[in-house]
């Protein structure tokens, strides 16, 4: 399904196609904010954005520059399971070809090898990331601050019961300085692999972490047009929001 949106500015440097995965069944926790930030920052950098949606049962878009998907409730994850498996090979090929992707919360888990629920049921993932997730009895909820060499400090909010463990080939997105992150045993949050950023943080993630948004944009534009010329983006409000978020209790 396509709901193309034109931004206000004329296309100067090019047009990027953003595919939102499963917005119908996996869209809780402000995931729309991440899409909006990509669309707006592309405009501010001088590019147009077309927002595409893929829901369970849709034919998969061939021409895609950035993939983005978010959290869902357990019921939503069941609905998309079959469709995700049917498109797994295609998604893996896109990932290996360097397509920038942002996978939050529920989709982060399903990008891994499997999710083993609390009662022992195994929900297979699509193994783009060598990670595994085990359902836990406690819910990890609250503000998170992490540190990343690549992106600087990362601010967000977590709310998950799955405990995720990274395989040897996968780097964490950040080292947690406040909050829990991937699991309650280790001090890391999210995952980095190829041009994929995966995280438990919603909040939404991209508005307060513009460095991650621009990472996805830079790689997508470079991949499509050979080079990226950034525009002049005013991130002073994001900086202030980050500074205040850091002072908030867990």
């Amino acid at each position: 399904m396509t709901s193309g949106t034109q931004t206000g500015t004329p296309a100067k440097k090019g047009t990027l196609r953003i595919l939102q995965l499963y917005p119908r069944d996996m869209n809780i926790y402000g995931d729309w904010g991440n899409v909006l930030v990509l669309k707006q920052r592309l405009a501010w950098h001088g590019y147009d954005a077309v927002i595409l949606e893929h829901n369970a049962g849709d034919a998969f878009e061939k021409d895609v520059d950035i993939l983005i998907g978010g959290g869902g409730q357990d019921s939503g994850q069941v609905v998309i399971q079959q469709d995700l498996q049917a498109n797994a090979a295609h998604l893996r090929a896109l990932a290996e070809d360097g397509t920038p992707m942002l996978a939050i919360c529920g989709l982060y888990q399903l990008f891994g090898n499997f999710f083993k629920t609390h009662d022992g049921t195994i929900i297979p993932g699509i193994s783009i990331l060598d990670i595994e997730t085990h359902g836990g009895s406690e819910r990890l909820i609250g503000n998170v601050v992490g540190r990343s060499e690549e992106f600087g400090d990362i601010h967000g909010y977590e709310n998950h019961s799955g405990q995720t463990y990274l395989g040897p080939g996968i780097r964490p997105l950040a080292t947690v300085t406040k909050g829990e992150g991937n699991n309650s045993k280790e001090d890391h949050e999210g995952a980095r692999h190829l041009n994929i950023v995966a995280s438990y943080l919603h909040g939404s993630l991209l508005p307060k972490n513009p460095a991650i948004a621009d990472f996805l944009i830079r790689h997508a534009v470079t991949r499509k047009y050979g080079s990226f010329e950034p525009g002049n983006v005013d991130d002073s409000l994001a900086d202030l929001a980050r500074r205040h978020a850091a002072t908030r209790p867990r």
Binding site: R24, G30, N159, P207, A245
Partner: protein, 426 residues
């Protein structure tokens, strides 16, 4: 009655009187009586001729409860309610202590109780209600309950314990689905005309891209047919009636349909439609919910926003044109700590007029949200006190509107009474 429980009412009442003298909290005497006599509430509420009504859901409990109470009082019933907004079990016990006689008897025809989802589950185990009214399940307080499906389970437990009639919101797929779990009670619905469904998104429709919820074919006892400003048309028994309401905001008006359905169910054949509609027209907003005040001779509206659908409906209900706008967002426990919900609200409707002041603990999160919707901001000040003074000064001679989360609203209300002579007009 055991020896100890026969003393619990006098003891509880004494504690209540003492804690009042000390200016203490309202729930403490409830705690005392709960501890020494767990059966107190059930005994006091058991024999009410028209039963016990529990009102729960994410949004609009307080105002809806107030509407049900006033509808029933308008029909001549003596109603007991937990008026003070203490919507947890202990608060009900405390309120009861103030009303029962020294032997624990309550002089009322019916009890109408507003209960928070989690506390309602606890309450219905102690006192199975005869009726319950379940309004909606929205992504509020996700940090408390984890997932909205979990909140649905909580409401389901209330419905399962209900002995008479469960009244459900037909338009909220999660609430409507509770009907299939109801064994003992009968089920009634309130709903919307097809033409209004876009105006009242359920949580699934929140993104607003496509209306995913299918038009419901369930028969509803009360249907909200049309809304024009604060004039509403309801259909009951195949007949349409139009009422001018004192309440403002489309969300209140849909909850008026809920209250009508509940009152009609309780009264069965005894409801007088004309007086009922007259009572409904006279209902004023509950404390802090969509109040209109006068400041410097100009109206100032406080609009409580707690979750994305509430904020969306608030923006939709009140035209921004001609108004100065302030938004105050806190992230204290009572507001919800997770800020992600701001990203599920569209602020496009504020683009033309802009926002005069952004305030609250999370002022910069809110400002950032507005930046991404291309809404111009005149001023940002996280301190609600000084922000309010600046806002009132800079928007002199203009009607004003403040969208605020719960604790921001409490602070602003307190500050308003200091700054200026606050007259509630509602």
């Amino acid at each position: 009655m055991s020896g100890l429980s026969s003393l619990s009412v006098p003891l509880g009442k004494t504690v209540r009187a003492l804690s009042r003298l000390r200016g203490g909290g309202s729930a403490f005497p409830g705690l005392v009586v709960e501890r020494i006599d767990p059966g107190f509430m059930a005994r006091a509420l058991r024999n009410l001729p028209r039963g016990v009504i529990v009102v729960s859901g994410t949004n609009g409990k307080t105002t809806t409860t107030k509407m049900v109470v006033e509808l029933l009082e308008g029909q001549g019933l003596k109603v007991f309610t937990n008026r003070t907004g203490s919507n947890f079990t202990r608060g009900v016990a405390a309120a009861l202590l103030g009303e029962v006689d020294w032997r624990g008897r309550l002089d009322a025809d019916v009890a109408v109780l507003e209960l928070d989802e989690a506390h309602a589950v606890h309450f219905v185990k102690l006192v199975p209600p005869t009726h319950c009214l379940l309004l909606n399940v929205l992504r509020d307080q996700l940090d408390r309950f984890g997932e909205i499906d979990k909140t649905t389970r909580l409401l389901e437990q209330i419905a399962v314990k209900t002995t008479g009639t469960v009244v459900l919101n037909r338009e909220d797929p999660r609430v409507a689905s509770i009907a299939s779990s109801v064994r003992e009670a009968s089920v009634a619905y309130f709903g919307l005309n097809e033409s209004l469904r876009d105006t009242f998104p359920s949580d699934d429709d929140l993104r607003g891209a496509t209306g995913t919820a299918p038009a419901s074919s369930l028969p509803a006892d009360v249907v909200l047919v049309a809304v024009e400003s604060n004039t509403a048309t309801f259909r009951m028994d195949g007949e349409e009636s139009t009422v001018d309401l004192s309440l403002r905001g489309v969300y209140n008006i849909f909850n008026a349909a809920a209250a009508l359905a509940m009152a009609r169910t309780v009264l069965a054949g005894d409801a007088n439609r004309e007086t009922m509609l007259r009572s409904l027209a006279a209902v004023e907003p509950a404390f802090g919910r969509g109040e209109s005040l006068v400041v410097d001779g100009q109206p100032l509206e406080l609009v409580l926003v707690k979750n994305p659908s509430g904020f969306r409906l608030g923006l939709k209900s009140f035209d921004a044109a001609g108004y100065a706008t302030m938004i105050a967002i806190n992230d204290n426990y009572a507001d919800g700590r997770d800020m992600s919900w701001l990203w599920d609200v569209d602020f496009d409707s504020l683009r033309t007029s802009g926002v005069d002041m952004v305030s609250g603990v999370r002022a910069y999160d809110m400002a950032l949200r507005l930046q991404y919707d291309d809404v111009a901001i005149q001023d940002i000040d996280p301190d609600t006190g000084s922000a309010l003074r600046t806002f009132i000064r800079s928007a002199k001679g203009q009607p004003k509107r403040i969208f605020c989360t719960y604790t921001a609203m409490l602070a602003i209300r307190r500050d308003l009474s200091r700054i200026t002579d606050v007259k509630v007009v509602s």
